[in-house]
Symmetry: C2
């Protein structure tokens, strides 16, 4: 049994082609070649814990991922994310490896999924990237978008100036030209590739400002109570994509828009079916597309195995 530290993980991740790996995961999932039980969830007084687990059928491993968010941790000098991933052999149940990632691989595979959604759904010419949020995930999303678009012009939204300024500084050091705003309407009016990465529980983006030719990847909401997009945005969209239809019926933006009656299940397309070419995503540059990413265990399965094998 191998234990892999966060330091080792951070050192090896940049050398792995995670976009291809996780694309394969989404395709396997949509083809029914993955065994992914419902998400386990433990709600505590100060935080929440998600257990995502399963395997690709006939693969070598099964993976259990534990990831937590304790959102007041930063006030006592601790990161909000925590957790680990465990690989076992699928044929014998033997423990193969514990990845002490402290939530980092969940952050990475979430950002990679954002890049995959943009790769397959963004309009051909990305003029300006809109980022709604200023945290860890807002940084990682931009970093991984580098692999799928040449656009480096960014408008970032945040609730307050100080984190927005830190975000500008950090991302300019990462070769982006960053402007900032406190108005999410400006994001919708001036950006045609938008990523939302906040823990909001009330809509931040309103349908009244939505422009044709926009793609939005909604990353923040992964529970039944979080929401970043007004449900009418999903009604207005020409294409609504789920990372997992089964999961998006229970959590995230699609769950909210189903509840309000703004969309129906038969309008949903799964990301893996678009990657595989079995379904059409964006059909023209003027269409509006929305991808709702709630985070699927196949992403954890793929990244855990890739990191283990890169270090084996």
């Amino acid at each position: 049994m191998k234990t892999i530290s966060l330091e080792q993980i951070k050192a090896v991740v940049p050398s792995i082609d995670l976009i291809s790996d996780i694309e394969e995961g989404f395709v396997a999932y949509s083809l029914g070649q993955a065994n992914v039980p419902p998400v386990g969830e433990l709600i505590l007084e100060k935080g929440e814990v998600h257990i995502k687990y399963g395997c690709l059928i006939n693969d070598e491993y099964y993976v259990i991922k534990i990831a937590s968010g304790f959102y007041d941790n930063p006030t006592i000098g601790l990161p909000s994310g925590n957790g680990l991933m465990v690989l076992f052999r699928q044929d014998t149940g033997q423990l193969v490896c514990i990845l002490l990632d402290e939530g980092h691989l969940t952050d990475i595979r979430t950002a990679v999924a954002g890049a995959i959604a943009a790769k397959h759904l963004a309009p051909k010419n990305v003029e300006r990237i809109g980022v709604v949020g200023t945290g860890v995930q807002a940084r990682l999303q931009l970093s991984y978008l580098k692999d799928v678009t040449t656009c480096r012009r960014v408008l970032a939204w945040g609730r307050s100036e100080e984190p927005l300024e830190r975000y500008r500084r950090d991302m300019e050091a990462n070769d982006f030209a960053i402007e900032t705003t406190r108005d999410t309407g400006e994001i919708l009016r001036t950006c045609n590739l938008i990523v939302t990465v906040t823990p909001a529980t009330e809509p931040l983006l309103l349908a009244s400002e939505l422009q044709s030719g926009t793609h939005i990847t909604a990353v923040g909401s992964d529970t039944p109570h979080k929401q970043e997009l007004e449900t009418a945005i999903l009604r207005e969209a020409d294409v609504v994509v789920a990372d997992s239809i089964a999961q998006c019926l229970l959590r995230g933006e699609i769950f909210k828009a189903m509840q309000s009656g703004d969309i129906t299940q038969d309008e949903l397309i799964e990301l893996g079916d678009i990657i595989a070419g079995r379904k059409t995503g964006r059909a023209s540059d003027s269409q509006i597309t929305v991808a709702d990413l709630t985070g699927v265990a196949v992403q954890d399965i793929k990244i855990a195995a890739a990191v283990y094998e890169a270090l084996a």
Copy 2:
């Protein structure tokens, strides 16, 4: 973060008063002082994995237990059980400890629960203990029964002679007087404390042989498809006890007897309520009592914390 090996676990377990610890866990559970989400389950081609997790409310830790059974493993020289337990801080989500128990603590806490059931439900004078099964759990159940009964006379049932003989030899070295049988009827006719510990999917004990003054603890069935007791045994019993009513409605002997209409939910009593003195278990030596143990996360939470603290 601490990693505790199987060797360290095996060395420290005998020094811990697990009966009291796990009794406290059952009481907390039945009083609604535990946060225990539904069991996570991954069914693989060659095995099954259970994820049991949760916490006692306002306790220091939350615990996630992964335990697997790959029943063909012994044919290739590997143990069938595997897995680990992980403790995290309940207030910050920080990782505290990984217990590399390879399923051993699940075996132990299961045997301890059997002893607790016997302590509270067996007739005053145990004349002979009947054990249905000859595996690891059949051994551990007897070992922990030593703490709650002075009876050392045992009749053991197995499907074939060789494992029965090994069982006899091992348990006689452990101060028991062992006789063996291939007839489960003999167990019911001559033993008044019976423990069933097989992975059977068809009833082994039949109601027609059931005697008054018997207590049966059914340990083997922890899924919807396993079954050791004919459902009529639960109908004939004066008292039917569940380790967790919520869980026994979905798996185990009680699930089977509910399905067949032999018992109803309002007849069920929870083990923690009996331990706490809030409900009556056995009211006389002539009653028939049955305890159905499917394994509850509070057992894992209690044993993981106890082992960690004993070694801290």
